[in-house]
């Protein structure tokens, strides 16, 4: 079963690298590990017959967004939380929101996993439905995007414009040198 081996390899890689992102003290390594995690997710998308999403994942996420993060990490040049702060603020040693937050996160995973494991019929009913050629073709994707989702598509362009202006205004240096 090469298919399931691939699935477990990709998902294991995605989960391990995501956990390392959160556990890492140096943001530089966090960003690089997150790129690996996104690559593994792209592999999962290929297995789900969504090759275009996989390519967009690599190009947009790993190529654009993560480079932006990397750029900011290098620009700020404040790579480490030092050991003292790390020890003092270690989530398990601290009362209040940090400790309860991680507890809630674990609880969330347990609940979701148990609910999904019990919902066996979810896997059986829908198994194998859908025409692979239609789903994975870029032609169908473009057609649906530019007809059914036209309004959302246009609204997205306004969102990007607002985000661009917002980023420029926020990161601008105040002063007469403009």
């Amino acid at each position: 079963m090469p298919e399931s081996i691939l699935f477990y390899a990709w998902s294991g890689l995605a989960i391990v690298t995501a956990a390392l992102v959160v556990g890492q003290r140096n943001p530089m390594y966090s960003v690089l590990l997150l790129i690996a995690s996104f690559g593994a997710l792209a592999g999962l998308y290929v297995q789900l017959d969504a090759p275009f999403v996989a390519v967009a994942q690599i190009i947009i996420y790993a190529g654009a967004i993560m480079v932006l993060f990397l750029f900011v990490v290098m620009l700020l040049n404040a790579p480490q939380e030092d050991h003292a702060v790390w020890d003092r603020t270690h989530p398990l040693r601290q009362p209040g929101v940090a400790r309860w937050g991680i507890l809630l996160a674990v609880l969330l995973v347990v609940q979701l996993a148990s609910a999904l494991l019990r919902a066996v019929e979810l896997g059986q009913q829908t198994k194998g439905r859908g025409d692979v050629d239609v789903i994975s073709s870029v032609r169908t994707l473009g057609h649906v995007l530019f007809t059914d989702y036209m309004f959302a598509f246009e609204a997205t362009s306004i969102l990007i414009l607002v985000a661009m202006v917002g980023a420029v205004v926020l990161a601008r240096r105040e002063g007469p040198s403009l």
Partner: protein, 100 residues
């Protein structure tokens, strides 16, 4: 074929990791990265459901989520840069002057 459950469980674990990161990390950049992990977990759910229902809508919503993630990263990082200029720190505990 891998059943839908497996994809959803992977997505749930990723979402849990992301939310744990938001709660437990004390670094603004890592918190933003954890938000990106959560968005990606949801993307995986969308694509998996779309595949098993047999439509492309899941993939298209994934594109919109990617766009929103890019906008969020741009604005969020701009805020991080301007905060860093004020306090020379990335620790969110340093920015509690707006706290009640």
């Amino acid at each position: 074929m891998i059943p839908l459950n497996h994809y959803l469980i992977v997505s749930a674990i990723l979402f849990g990791i992301g939310s744990a990161g938001v709660f437990m990390r004390r670094n603004l950049i890592t918190i933003l990265l954890s938000v990106e992990i959560m968005l990606n977990a949801v993307n995986l759910t969308f694509v998996a459901f779309g595949r098993f229902i047999g439509t492309v809508d899941g993939q298209i919503i994934t594109f919109f989520v990617m766009t929103v993630a890019a906008a969020e990263a741009a604005v969020g990082l701009a805020i991080v840069i301007s905060l860093y200029r004020h306090k020379e720190s990335l620790n969110p505990d340093a920015f509690t002057s707006l706290k009640w």
